[in-house]
Symmetry: C2
Subunit: 261 residues, 2 copies
């Protein structure tokens, strides 16, 4: 189907998905660019619509003629397309996808984000969580929306393969603990006395990463069994939240893979 | 001193520092924003000039009246200032600094960048190198210029505290090896059979990080004593060069701090 007008109802609805409110109302989000759309099509996330910019020559075949795309393809005028695109130089391809509705599984390894606010940091943490086998991520109150265009982009498709849970982190952790009586809740803090590599992080682990400026909240630190820091030669500020979190996810994986619990 | 014109000789020379060629000719580079300039003033790097945008109210006192700033302060008209600023919304403060001329020290721990091209990745690697005690970094042929505005920004001041060596990496490593007969040259590769956490990385370590797409070059892999990978549950592409490098620098520090060589 071809859509010319910027005032088309569908175009206006899709453009609203750039805002958190628009995503919450519709349960949809945007995925921009061939690479990310390819990752989306390979995942379990439901494709609602596939949009292509009429100003460009040919949509990429593997995406456009993917079985999931059938009856969901729209060619948009450049003006209509620009209204929906988030990046300044849009790549000509946008998918509209359904935000997965999933209940928490409380697996043995979970990453909890406590008011982490930078989309780039959160995207990186999603990638690292996937790399090191943490496939459930709790987006605690005050954490950036995982389905915002910047997080989607920074996660490089990792977002489509992990389980995203929006929850009050204290409540989630209480429920997690009931299922994992031997489990360890670990908070991270630059000023902690215990080194992450000398602490047994455990096979059953809830790892809590805090806000970029304030760290993990007092309430969650009080819930934690231990608080650990990354051993360092230089200044603690050398590592941002994404790098610190990546190291801790690696450390947990390394310990488990070594049977060092 | 107040400078009004965009055509002033100094203004034109400073604006040229945004290009690699301009920096190479003059031996100077630009540092933008109060936070980075503060880090610069606290370091050993020589301050050549301090520029302030006349459109703004008051320059920050701690920077403007710093002992190093005396006789080096220039207030520029907004147009002249905009010509030099790299960011779209300049913060009103730019330092012109001298690129440190340093010879290699060949310390026991060194990070070698082999054609790493993304400024954000390189900035992060500089921060991580500082965090984990690698205070000499070799910028091999094809690696992004460490003094480009984007790298300066992404390094968050770490650049001012590490030793930056531009060198042919094979030649550097040969000279390093002569000084560290027991040293280990470790290349990183996603397809390596050996896990970084099970390999003894050694107290004397040259860690080689490769290009984002091609990895470490064959020539440097041939020079390496071992090639290691990061153990992972997910896909190797989940980690970018900065994250992978950060984990390896941490792993080396962890092993040394545990006396596990």
């Amino acid at each position: 189907m071809y859509i010319e007008s910027q005032h088309n109802d569908r175009v206006r609805e899709w453009a609203r998905l750039k805002t958190r409110r628009g995503r919450q109302k519709s349960g949809l989000f945007l995925v921009e660019g061939e690479r990310l759309v390819t990752e989306l099509l390979a995942s379990h996330v439901h494709l609602e619509a596939l949009l292509y910019n009429a100003a460009l020559d040919e949509p990429p075949d593997a995406v456009w003629n993917h079985p999931k795309s059938v009856d969901r393809r729209f060619v948009l005028s450049p003006q209509a397309f620009a209204l929906i695109a988030d990046t300044e130089t849009p790549q000509g391809l946008i998918a509209v996808a359904a935000i997965p509705k999933v209940d928490p599984h409380y697996p043995s390894r979970v990453l909890v984000l406590d008011a982490v606010q930078d989309p780039g940091n959160v995207g990186t943490l999603i990638r690292s969580a996937e790399a090191f086998g943490f496939d459930e991520i709790v987006f605690g109150t005050g954490t950036v929306d995982p389905y915002s265009p910047k997080v989607v982009r920074a996660s490089m498709g990792g977002l489509f393969r992990v389980r995203v849970i929006a929850a009050d982190p204290a409540r989630y952790l209480a429920a997690w603990r009931r299922r994992h009586a031997q489990g360890t809740i670990v908070a991270t803090a630059a000023d902690a006395a215990e080194r992450c590599d000398r602490a047994a992080l455990g096979e059953q682990l809830a790892l809590v990463i805090g806000n970029e400026a304030r760290g993990v909240s007092d309430a969650l630190r009080a819930l934690a069994d231990r608080t650990v820091a990354i051993p360092m030669a230089g200044k603690a500020e050398s590592l941002n939240a994404a790098m610190a979190g990546t190291i801790l996810l690696y450390e947990a994986y390394r310990q488990a893979a070594n049977g060092a619990t």
